[in-house]
Assembly symmetry: C2
Homo-oligomer: 305 residues x 2
Amino acid sequence: MLPTSVEIREVGPRDGFQNEPEIIATADKVALIDRLARTGLKRIEVTSFVRPSVIPQLADAAAVLTAIDVPPGVSRSVLVPNAVGLDRALELCEHFEEVGVFMSASPEHNWRNVNRTVEQSLAELEAVIGRARDAGLRVEAIISTSFGCPYEGVVPRPRVLALARHLADAGAQEIAFGDTTGMANPVQVREHFEEAVASLGDVQLTAHFHNTRGQGLANVLAALDAGCASFESSFGELGGCPVPAGATGNIATEDLVSMLHEMGIATGIDLLALLHAANAVRAVLARELGSHTLIAGPVDWKRNG
Amino acid sequence: MLPTSVEIREVGPRDGFQNEPEIIATADKVALIDRLARTGLKRIEVTSFVRPSVIPQLADAAAVLTAIDVPPGVSRSVLVPNAVGLDRALELCEHFEEVGVFMSASPEHNWRNVNRTVEQSLAELEAVIGRARDAGLRVEAIISTSFGCPYEGVVPRPRVLALARHLADAGAQEIAFGDTTGMANPVQVREHFEEAVASLGDVQLTAHFHNTRGQGLANVLAALDAGCASFESSFGELGGCPVPAGATGNIATEDLVSMLHEMGIATGIDLLALLHAANAVRAVLARELGSHTLIAGPVDWKRNG
């Protein structure tokens, strides 16, 4: 039984921009976020409080947060990597509603990504989640490599779901399962979300798929089948984890919305407005993007063709 | 209940090459087909007997057919557009095992594509199918725009299935439903194949999806769910119906095989060998292709990364 509507969180302004090699002007970022916020998207990840020396592209986090102008009802979220990042974020906490925290389910990936053991990350995140909740923020915890690790291969599902349980118990209201390097397949995804829905019914469960091997929307379909009704994606198919070089990462929000609407599943998003936003970021980046619907147009256009 | 194995027909050497603007040398075509025939693929569409003035790229059909060297057990198929095309093909019928015939389910698309009404095409195809069967050939009938027409919009399913019934009754042992301009969605595909399996159980039923809006493999998953176990695809994601310009067409065989293998569904195809073939056609065409797995590599490579 497919859901009749789903929620989509747009991650392009953080996850997408972060992976761009050329610094994007703050004014361009602000204009793109303001545009996205007028497409019907209700949740947008706008920036990250990582150390500017690590990700110079997002060094303008404060400037972006204070300059954007999103309509009422659109929730702004920021990614915080650790306690120090939360400290920086909280100084501006009147400018956003949600924080995202993240760790990997696989020890090797977590170590390479944040230089901590899984146990160290979990302990730190539990404290960060508690403090963010105390500040009145909504918290999403993202579990990277939930469907496979490029260094360790299969990540045992009980380990992923136990980690999710810990993060939910610490106060996270939403758990996102990330297919960080595009290793998920639909059989695995169905089983994963069937088990997750059964064991984590008290929190919002979100799927974050990559289109690394072209399976992104097939995995969305599998997750929908298993009761998942919350997805993350990136306009223009920006970002993700471009490993190896040239590989695509996130699924494109416009491809996701096109498929869902064609399936009769509501998103609240105006696909044409979203395509205009994707076209705008293509112009800013001055390169071709991986998005399919941005090139092909929505099915409705074709019907009039 | 997913099938445990599926059959894949490679259409790149016909459907893919046909859409290339630069003429590919016959020797290159032959080398690529011979390579594909050693990947475990058991069925390959090698050329077409359309009028050379219409599709100059395939004017070397006879030369290709007589030069290729495929192992025993690999079935060669050729596309014939009409009775004249069949006449030309039959002169070389010791060099292939199967013919494909095609027409559109939507009158407007059929008229623009072959300048005939649906009734005229059906009558001609019935005769062509009969003559091909009399010559000992296996016949596949392809119904274009089975899931939507760019000129007419939705194509009523009863019309598509009635057409399939006529073509099967005329002697076609296989019916392929083509999503010619990438308008299919998974809900529609599931319903379509559930009905098709129920009403056409006496013939092989094949799905031919395009990745126009990124949904190609999601539609594959939906078709698998509904009992379809036969697919057509193109190595390198070549070909299809690139309308509008720049849009992708066929799903990439290597993306399809990667997903199926990860799902535990057998294809008999060596994915690495297939990727080498896709890499070879990329070298011949000297441009980047739409295939995802060709860039990202199979999941197994990543596990060793």
